[in-house]
């Protein structure tokens, strides 16, 4: 009973900020306030027609798609190598590949900024994409590693004994059996990249900036509920993605978080 109350309180506490934003987004007045004075969709209209948001949304799409497309094959190769082969200093490699999780975004962003300036790539979207690949990789590697560890190496030997050369073994056996991990990796990559802010702030310009950065810039200059409307859309999109993925791919099974039996 008490346990249930605690859980309820926790859920409330965790979702409260989001709920406040959602409610505020329907406020007809031009001030971000709570509780709202009425019901209106004008800020949604504003959010969807504001040119800088449209440009940033397109940038987000490009950067997220490109970084996921790069991070997936790289991360899969790394996961295979880390699990399968007697890598020397495995621990060190593991730490290095997962370090973006622990290095503060400000430090990473500043480092990239200096490098980009040095290479004359400041206004280039490539820097942004590279940054996202690096940030997304730990999630991709982790997800794929779970699938690799669950893959029986005997299956690949069996395939080889039946006449499949290494590439065919990969295509017909390894890749299909890694699919759950790859889907999880893709989902993570998209969510992390779409929400990335700190590092992106350092390495983007007004022309290349992605949606979270554009939202930040907006909120610094204006205080109307447009931001709340956009945030609500963002949250809804993320939820839809996770929900769909869970339904279609049984994500919970991928992470083995079902109850023990």
């Amino acid at each position: 009973m008490i346990g249930r109350l605690v859980v309820l309180a926790l859920v409330l506490f965790m979702t409260l900020p989001t709920l406040v934003v959602v409610v505020a987004s329907f406020n007809p007045t031009a001030i971000l306030s709570f509780p709202p004075q009425g019901l209106s969709l004008r800020w949604y209209e504003n959010a969807l027609t504001y040119p800088q948001f449209r440009r940033a949304a397109l940038n987000s799409l490009i950067v997220t798609a490109a970084s996921a497309a790069l991070a997936l094959p790289i991360g899969t190769a790394a996961a295979l190598a880390l699990v399968r082969y007697p890598v020397r200093l495995r621990g060190l490699w593991n730490t290095a590949l997962l370090s973006p999780l622990v290095v503060p975004g400000v430090a990473a962003g500043l480092g990239l900024l200096i490098l980009a300036a040095r290479l004359g790539l400041l206004a280039n979207r490539v820097v942004l994409i590279v940054a996202h690949v690096v940030l997304v990789l730990p999630f991709v590697i982790r997800s794929v590693m779970v699938s690799v560890a669950n893959l029986d190496p005997m299956l690949e030997r069996a395939a080889a004994s039946l006449g499949a050369r290494p590439w065919r073994v990969f295509r017909r056996v390894t890749l299909p059996l890694l699919r759950p991990g790859l889907f999880a990796a893709l989902l993570f990559a998209v969510i992390v990249s779409a929400n990335e802010f700190v590092v992106s702030l350092f390495v983007s310009t007004r022309v290349t900036e992605i949606l979270p950065v554009a939202m930040f810039t907006y909120v610094v200059n204006y205080t109307d509920p447009t931001m709340a409307a956009l945030s609500t859309l963002f949250v809804a999109a993320t939820f839809a993605a996770v929900f769909l993925a869970d339904r279609l791919l049984h994500l919970s099974r991928v992470f083995q978080i079902e109850g023990h039996r």
Partner: protein, 349 residues
Amino acid sequence: MTGKAVVALEAVSKAYGATRALDGIDLAVHEGELLSLLGPSGCGKTSTLNIVAGFIEPDAGRVLLDGQDVTRQPAWRRGLGVVFQSYALFPHMSVADNVAFGLRERRMGRREAEARVAEALALVRLPAAGAMRPSHLSGGMQQRVALARALVIRPRVLLLDEPLAALDRKLREEMRAELREIQRAVGITTIFVTHDQHEALGLSDRVAVMNAGRIEQLGTPREVYQRPATGFVADFIGASSALEGRAVDAGTVELAGGQRIAVRLPRPLEPGTRVRLLIRPERVEPGDGGANALPARVASVMFLGDHAEVRLELPGGARVLAVVRGTVVVEPGDRLTVTLPPDAFLEAP
């Protein structure tokens, strides 16, 4: 002899760090025979099989297939059929697709492949399982699918690594007989890995008894059982009792209890030396059979249905295991006479 070998290993060695997994293996497998690699856990059976299959490369030595050196050839080029202990069926494919895997790699036409798959599934008596997923099959059925998948490519050699170990006893005995029938029917040269001596003796044309990375003896089941070449083989295969004693002359041993027994060993004994004799339980004969009739006391009886294992104690304390038919009634404490035929003894080094 060597010219006809389908598979030949020449001085093959393999080490994992400090572990010498294989230490100079020489082996020739002949056309159509079923050869078992038999030995305790860790003796190098799987390593030997993996080197033949091409899954691992030896540190030294050569692997020949039909006289061709294939030591550095990858597994996918060798055209051998392998059945794994865990079966290793592809979980994301149907049974039919599993069996067709090797045919697709050979770019066989759809029609022909389907016919060959049906034929292979019929051979292992699973004609209707094609559409099923491997995970929906019982262990014995998965075993058959694995066999069908290996045989359908018409491999030069069939390699089996403890294929029956994961089955329960009854099924294992059925599959053992069936495996032998299929192997005979197909006439395929086969290497069979097992640590189960009954499996090895019952299935094989020849048995290679392995120990610590070496082959201790290679011979027919009868040879390795009745004429073990080393103490290890004598100990490992079949139950046997050991009798300690001292050689009196070339063909006589005095046991610890003072009894003198005549022995007929392959080599004469050195008088005065200590000897350790082994005797199989089924060679111990109840009753007075002439030479070497000794009084004994029944120490314990284990009734096993069709037969009973009787532990006998000789004067002086030596224990001898004997086997009697299940219909014979003996009780612990009974006194009787047993005969140990002179030619029944093996010498343990």
